[in-house]
């Protein structure tokens, strides 16, 4: 009797996990194929340089002396009109040389207005809450300190705000340290699929893109309308995306607004990064799902997509539950009475179907990016998959444990930087053009006149 019950429960769990994961597989296929066929392109590239609001750029910093100089120099070199630009490096209780570097730049460029924080709750969201009070821009853009924006990125990020429905914008991050470790190589594939395929396809299909908190921005009026940053959230970016969505504001994605980032090179750093994302994201799921279902501004399709997005980390424990149930059935002789072949076909079919779905997204992204060599790394993504599944399950276990007992949970955690260059040398192949001359308004549209006539 007990054995029969175990068999029945195992089957129910397997079927449920297959249904949930199958639904995600369909979604991945849909997005992958849509992107491959370049359907419904939505972009504002043709308006780049014509949308020039007053912009405030925030750079949250905590002990960033290795990287602060690069990001500040890159912003100085950007082709945005300095009259319309304000850069606020948010120095959050740094104990290294960050303050000196920031002050040195502020002394040279009047549009750099540092905010030095010496007390208060730590973490990026809390620092942003305070710094936002000083901002005068109509659009707030954000870059993490280890990011190096290209010269045109500010204009590209402001272009989507031509649309009054756009509350936030997200650019694309591109890992530069792809060959530093196998993990960074695999993460570059993950990022490539996440941005080039998924974000772009979702935006093209009319779903809201996800604001990632860096290489992105938000309309000041929209931010005020939703009550500002949520200092309690570990992922203030996801929180903001859904707060905006519930009020009718969309997030745009700009694939061409690319920016180099540094991805984790070892699994310990990656686990901690993932743990923060999982906790913050799942917190948002709990905070927003009832409102999402009731939202008057969203269609049924948009609500479904938003829920899929918020619940994505729950797929990891669902996979594990499916595995455990399969093992249980494997070791119970009575369970073998079930016709094996059709069931095995079903499971194998599902596995192929769902794995191919995510691989399709990676393949499409590498194809569009022209980085086909990197696509050959795909089989090794299995390592990433197993590591991610473990880390996500562990983070969810901690999250629900803390939630159940009402304890605080993890605090904000800054991802470890590994860049060794402290002398202000730009990194990446196409280094920022140091000391680039500021251009006149006319020079913003026409190339400098180097005609043959001189």
């Amino acid at each position: 009797m007990a054995v029969t019950a175990v068999i029945a429960v195992s089957w129910v769990l397997i079927v449920l996990s297959m249904l949930v994961l199958g639904a995600y597989a369909v979604r991945h296929y849909y997005l992958g194929y849509s992107r491959m066929r370049l359907e419904h392109p939505r972009e504002t590239n043709e308006l780049v340089g014509f949308v020039m609001p007053r912009v405030t750029v925030f750079i949250p910093m905590h002990n960033e002396e290795k990287v602060a100089r690069d990001v500040l120099q890159a912003l100085v070199d950007c082709d945005y009109d300095w009259e319309l630009l304000e850069v606020i490096p948010v120095n959050d209780r740094s104990t290294d040389g960050t303050r000196a570097i920031v002050d040195e730049f502020a002394g040279r460029y009047p549009f750099i207005k540092p905010y030095h924080r010496t007390e208060g709750v730590g973490g990026k969201p809390a620092a942003l809450v305070e710094a936002t009070e000083l901002a005068t821009g109509d659009i707030y853009l954000m870059f993490d300190a280890d990011y190096v924006p290209g010269r045109a990125v500010l204009k590209m990020l402001t272009a989507p705000f031509v649309d009054p429905e756009i509350g936030a914008v997200m650019g694309r991050v591109v890992p530069h340290n792809i060959g530093d470790s196998l993990l960074s190589g695999l993460l570059s594939l993950e990022r490539c699929a996440g941005y080039q395929s998924v974000q772009q396809a979702r935006f093209n299909l009319g779903f809201t893109a996800q604001f990632g908190g860096t290489v992105g921005g938000v309309r000041a009026a929209a931010l005020r309308a939703v009550g500002g940053w949520n200092p309690e959230s570990l992922t203030e970016d996801t929180d903001l995306t859904f707060a905006l969505l519930l009020n009718g504001w969309r997030t745009a994605y700009v694939n061409r607004a690319e920016c180099y980032e540094e991805v984790p090179q070892d699994w310990a750093v990656r686990r901690r990064q993932l743990s923060r994302w999982v906790t913050g994201h799942t917190e948002c799921l709990h905070n927003y799902w009832p409102d999402l279902l009731r939202a008057r501004f969203l269609s049924r399709k948009e609500k479904t997509d938003a829920l899929f997005l918020l619940a994505m980390y729950l797929t990891a424990p669902i996979i594990v539950i499916g595995w455990v149930a399969s093992l249980v059935l494997f070791f119970i002789p009575e369970a073998h009475a079930v016709p094996v072949l059709p069931v095995a076909m079903l499971i194998i079919g599902y596995l192929l179907f769902s794995n191919q779905a995510t691989f399709l997204e990676i393949g499409v992204a590498t194809l569009l990016d022209g980085t086909r060599l990197r696509a050959l790394l795909m089989p090794l993504s299995l390592l990433n998959f197993f590591a991610n599944t473990g880390a996500i399950c562990n983070a969810l276990r901690k999250f629900y444990w803390n939630r159940f007992w009402g304890s605080g949970g993890d605090g904000w955690y800054k991802t470890h930087r590994t860049r060794m260059d402290a002398e202000g040398q730009s990194f990446g192949a196409g280094a920022t053009p140091a000391g680039a001359a500021k251009q006149s308004v006319k020079g913003l549209y026409y190339a400098s006149n180097e005609g043959m006539g001189d």
Binding site: R151, V162, I178, L380, A447
Partner: protein
């Protein structure tokens, strides 16, 4: 036996699978990504300027000219040749396969074929029916009727694009572009873009003076449904932005005072004043003689009726039509209009900035222009 064969095949596939991945990893190990061009800056006349720079570099670094006769210099650049001449005047029907640089004026008769780029340091005059690869001119440039340009056109002086001319990429000028009926291009950019039959006398701005519908209504006023506007469908999104559920077809002059998102089609009556941005999930139609100060974004088609004056940016997910007498101008920055499908420019249009389309920008002749020009002739 079957098991052994199965195992061997499985192991072979398994090995191949991971050995390829391993080799890929060895190829990228220790390297940094170099896929981004960090110095990229978007410039509207990029093609023309890039060609000028390349040409200047080639002429400065290539070995001395050969076969030089009567002022003509010939440079060999790989499989290509560069001809440099003082001034050139070709008769009709000439076919030229090489890159041609003229240090003075250039003119050609009808039906010539230039299969490589042309650089003209003086004024250029291209005969009707001629086919070009691309052309850059430091002076004024006139493309005759029915010219085909396979790539781009860039001129420092005034650029005249003749009737029925086809430009398959961008056309830019630092002075002005005259775009005649039947001509098309992918994008036009100049301080002034003009279509046929320009008549500035007819411009008379009276928009907003007699506005019957205020959106949002003023504080203290009681709003009621009238003239196609139903206040019950208007909601605040916060941040001073409003959202209208369904179609908003205002039949009277409208005064829009805050950003508005319409989840349907949007249209407004003549002489409306739109001081803020409008986004419509459907089509947008702006009534005649209206003034548009905010940006207009339509997921569908966008139409500006005659004599609309816009000081902003226009974007359409479908087609766009700028009717007779439309003017686009704003302070400090140029205006821009972009459509995913065809963008049609009627007669008597003046735009200071850019018009572009993922499909094509086309100029058409409208009866109004014909009447206007007839009246002027009389």
């Amino acid at each position: 036996m079957a098991f052994l064969i199965f195992s061997a095949i499985f192991l072979a596939i398994f090995y191949l699978h991971f050995s390829l991945a391993h080799r890929a990893w060895l190829a990228i190990r220790g390297k940094q990504s170099s896929e981004l061009d960090m110095g990229y800056v978007r410039l509207e006349d990029y093609f023309g300027q890039s060609f000028r720079r390349k040409l200047k570099h080639w002429l400065a670094t290539l070995p001395a000219a050969t076969n030089s006769t009567a002022g003509l210099r010939v440079y060999d650049h790989g499989k290509e040749r560069i001809y440099v001449a003082p001034t050139v005047q070709y008769p009709g029907g000439r076919v030229e396969k090489e890159i041609l640089v003229t240090e003075g004026a250039f003119a050609c008769g009808p039906n010539c074929d230039f299969r490589n780029e042309l650089m003209v340091k003086g004024d250029g005059d291209i005969g009707e029916g001629t086919s070009l690869q691309a052309i850059a001119a430091d002076g004024a440039l006139q493309l005759g009727e029915g010219v085909t340009v396979r790539r781009w056109v860039d001129a420092a002086g005034k650029l005249t694009i003749g009737a029925d001319t086809a430009i398959h990429s961008r056309a830019t000028s630092r002075t002005a572009i005259e775009f005649l009926p039947g001509a098309y291009a992918q994008s036009l950019f100049a301080p002034e873009i003009v279509t046929e039959g320009r008549n500035d006398d007819s411009i008379e701005l009276s928009a907003g003076r007699g506005a019957l519908v205020q959106v949002p209504h003023r504080a203290g006023e009681t709003a009621r449904a009238a003239n196609g506007f139903d206040p019950a469908k208007l909601f605040s999104m916060g941040g001073g932005t409003y959202f209208y559920e369904g179609n908003l077809d205002v039949t009277a002059p409208l005064h829009l005072r805050a950003p508005l998102v319409v989840r349907g089609h949007f249209s407004c009556g003549k002489e409306s004043l739109l001081e803020s941005d409008v986004k419509a999930h459907g089509n947008i139609t702006i009534g005649p003689a209206s003034v548009v100060k905010g940006n207009l974004v339509a997921d569908g088609n966008l139409v500006l009726k005659p004599d609309v004056y816009f000081q902003s940016l226009l974007q359409a997910g479908g087609e766009m039509r700028l009717s007779f007498g439309v003017r686009g101008l704003r302070e400090k920055l140029p205006v821009a209009a972009h459509a995913t499908r065809a963008l049609t420019l009627e007669s008597n249009i003046v735009i200071n900035g850019k018009v572009s389309s993922a499909h094509r920008v086309i100029a058409i002749s409208t009866p109004m222009a014909w009447l206007q020009s007839k009246k002027a002739r009389a």
